[in-house]
């Protein structure tokens, strides 16, 4: 029986056990006693869970074990006895045989595979039947066990809610476990990189010129300072010069001046803008803003202006971040108690005096937290800088020059066919780890500030 069919069958059996469990519990009610501990529904769920969950666990384990069992039984057959001992070739033949068994009519490349295919098919169908029977048996056994336990004073609700809690716990752990796995792989590969290139050369060197070489040693080509500078220049300086004032002013307008009907439209639009794929902004940066800036630079007499400039990427990134800053600042200003605003207005302060002298100072910690989150987003942003900032690792403060960022270089290092063991590829992991740590710290600090600020007004 195929996977989906078994799952459907299981679902059907689960439904039936739900109905039976519920019906049994219902009978206790109609008998006139009001001593049923849990609602009949909970008894139904309890029975259904016992019918489905053990069987599902079995299916999970079985699906990882049964291929090995199939292979073992094929190998145990005399027809497979004369197979070559060469592990690689043997594996190839076996996997071909399996593929033929699953898709009859396929042409065999290895004649041995042709012979083994029927054996495979037979073994597979055998274990399939065994597995299906076991699943059905487990399902009935579980349902029967649960069904027998249903009594008026049985605490089915507690059991079911425990299961729900476990499901929720697993769901919440998945993201964390995945993150830990990603970080572990980053750390592992970075350690290999720092085995080849000295961390001091990496973190303090000013020459970035990685070559496609597996020869370790020449640390002078892996100085990441130009990348860090480019990242900060674009993400934390140029983008923020745009995003902070405009975001803040937009938040002030939306919270204090805009009519409710306008705000009702504008806020969702801003929030939608925050969800526009960054590659769209990247197009805009590369095709519209960058050439315009180059022409402008040429017009004011900057000779070495290129069409890939820090300014173009930073400007567009700033525009991209505006909704984010605006939304965070909006929340902070809205969180300032209205009694604060009333107090100021009642002193005869005008609206703008109230905003400047009371609301913004009171909202400042929240705004700062929001800006830090925005910086952390900006320095991790990839697509705009890949498309508009360029690849030249210049250490320059000229906004019209081309600079490169950590994320751009990670993309650059990992694309193309390089030897995975070369420092060039491994450098991407070291860069990624650095970026990860910096953004993590920024987020921690920002969230801490925002949290402290929220507490201050509760």
């Amino acid at each position: 029986m195929t996977g989906p069919a078994i799952l459907l069958l299981l679902l059907g059996l689960g439904l039936i056990s739900w109905i039976f469990g519920r019906a049994k519990a219902n009978r206790f009610i109609t008998a006139g006693s009001k001593n049923l501990n849990s609602l009949p529904n909970y008894h139904g769920w309890y029975t259904a869970l016992w019918a489905i969950v053990p069987a599902l666990i079995f299916i999970t384990i079985w699906s990882s074990v049964s291929p090995a069992l199939v292979t073992d039984s094929v190998l145990a057959n005399p027809a497979a006895a004369e197979l070559t001992d060469n592990g690689f070739k043997r594996g190839a033949i076996l996997s071909e045989a399996r593929s033929i068994a699953n898709n009859p009519g396929q042409k065999a490349f290895n004649p041995e595979a042709e012979q083994l295919a029927p054996l495979y098919a037979k073994a597979q169908s055998y274990y399939d039947i065994v597995g299906t029977l076991a699943v059905i048996l487990l399902c009935f056994a579980g349902a029967a066990y649960a069904f027998i336990r249903i009594r008026p004073d049985f605490r089915a609700r507690k059991r079911v809610e425990q299961v729900v809690m476990i499901v929720l716990l697993v769901a919440s752990l998945i993201a964390i476990v995945a993150t830990i796995g990603i970080v572990a792989s980053l750390i592992f590969e970075s350690a290999r990189f720092f085995g080849m290139i000295s961390p001091i050369d990496f973190f303090f060197g000013t020459e970035w010129n990685p070559k496609n070489t597996s020869v370790a040693g020449d640390g002078e080509d892996f100085g990441a300072i130009p990348l860090f500078w480019g990242t900060i220049f674009i993400g934390a300086i140029i983008a923020m010069v745009i995003a902070i004032p405009f975001g803040l002013m937009s938040a002030v307008y939306l919270t204090q001046y805009a009519r409710p009907s306008f705000r009702k439209w504008m806020k969702p639009i801003l929030e939608v803008l925050a969800g526009v794929p960054t590659v769209v902004y990247g197009y805009f940066a590369a095709l519209t803003v960058a050439p315009a800036l180059r022409d402008f630079a040429a017009a004011i007499g900057i000779s070495n202006a290129t069409s890939e400039s820090a300014l173009a990427a930073g400007l567009v990134m700033g525009v991209m971040i505006i909704p984010f800053v605006s939304s965070m600042a909006d929340d902070s200003i809205a969180a300032v108690p209205s009694s604060m605003r009333d107090g100021s207005l009642a002193m005869g302060a005008t609206k703008s005096e109230t905003i400047k002298k009371v609301l913004i100072p009171a909202a400042l910690p929240g705004v700062v937290g929001g800006v830090l989150l925005a910086v952390s987003r900006a320095i991790g942003e990839t697509m705009i800088v890949v498309m508009a900032a360029g690849l030249a690792a210049n250490l320059t403060a000229n906004p019209f020059a081309s600079v490169t960022t950590v994320t751009t270089q990670i993309v650059q290092l990992l694309t193309g066919d390089s030897d995975f063991n070369s420092p060039k590829v491994l450098a991407a992991f070291a860069l990624g780890l650095t970026l990860f740590i910096v953004t993590l710290l920024l987020n921690l600090v920002a969230l801490h500030i925002v949290k402290r600020y929220r507490e201050a007004y509760e």
């Binding site: 009642a346 002193m347 100072p361």
Partner: protein, 259 residues
């Protein structure tokens, strides 16, 4: 309604004031005179409109978009809802103290200096210092805070915060001070201090206090207005009102029949 106040100058008068929130009428035809010499208390059960009415007197209800006021409210004979009236100047002349102490998250000094600064009342640092000291002294807070003027106003106790807010209102030298249940968030000792302060401020400013605490009205005010369901039922001398109310509803409220 008693009207033997001919010898006393009326600071604020209201005539047939209606207040609407959207379609809903919250205040119905209230006419009242506020004078400099007496403290006026507005009493009444919750939701009777006394706070709403108080807020119309320095146009704080302007901050609520759906709120609409008809009728006439004057300050020294000037209609405060006239187009020529500058709401900023109005509020500098008619200050307000709120139910919950709302000091700004600034230093004690900056809290007091806030009003004088925005209205340009002090020509220099020394004069500003003097205003701050005088306001805190009038609010009876100077002795407690004079050594820590740079600490945050929000670090004070609730009662001190409320006196700070009164000092802040005094600092712009208003003519009228409106107090919206100023003691409802305070403990009895802090309440007693505020009441004492109201006694001391009487005569220097026209004071209107909203309270749902009848004993408080009896203690601090000379004139009392009783509000019920958006109308002013009775207005008269406090002593008269509490001993011999003219209206059935007032008597029922004062004797604790409802509210």
């Amino acid at each position: 309604m008693t009207t033997e106040t001919t010898t006393i100058t009326n600071k604020m008068t209201t005539r047939n004031v209606d207040v609407f929130y959207g379609e809903k009428q919250a205040i119905n035809g209230v006419s009242i005179d506020i004078d400099m010499e007496n403290v006026t208390a507005f009493i009444g059960p919750s939701g009777c409109g006394k706070s709403t009415f108080l807020r119309t007197m320095n146009r704080m209800n302007d901050t609520i978009p759906s709120c609409r006021v008809t009728g006439e409210i004057t300050l020294d004979g000037e209609d405060i809802y006239a187009p020529s009236m500058d709401v900023v100047q109005l509020r500098a002349r008619v200050g307000m103290v709120f139910q919950k102490p709302n000091p700004f998250p600034k230093s004690i000094y900056d809290n007091i200096a806030y009003g004088p600064r925005i209205h340009g009342l002090a020509s220099g640092k020394e004069e500003l210092d003097r205003i701050v000291e005088k306001s805190l002294q009038r609010a009876g807070l100077w002795a407690e805070v004079k050594d820590r003027l740079n600490e945050s106003g929000t670090a004070l106790s609730g009662g001190q915060q409320q006196r700070l807010c009164i000092a802040r209102a005094i600092a712009v030298d208003p003519e009228v001070i409106l107090m919206d249940e100023p003691c409802s968030a305070l403990d009895p000792i802090a309440t007693a201090k505020i009441e004492e302060l109201i006694h001391e401020l009487r005569g220097k400013y026209a004071i209107v206090i909203v309270t749902h605490n009848m004993q408080q009205a009896a203690r601090v005010s000379q004139r009392t207005a009783f509000f019920h369901l958006g109308t002013m039922v009775e207005y008269g001398d406090t002593s008269e009102m509490f001993t011999n109310p003219q209206e059935e509803r007032t008597r029922d409220y004062i004797t604790g029949r409802y509210g």
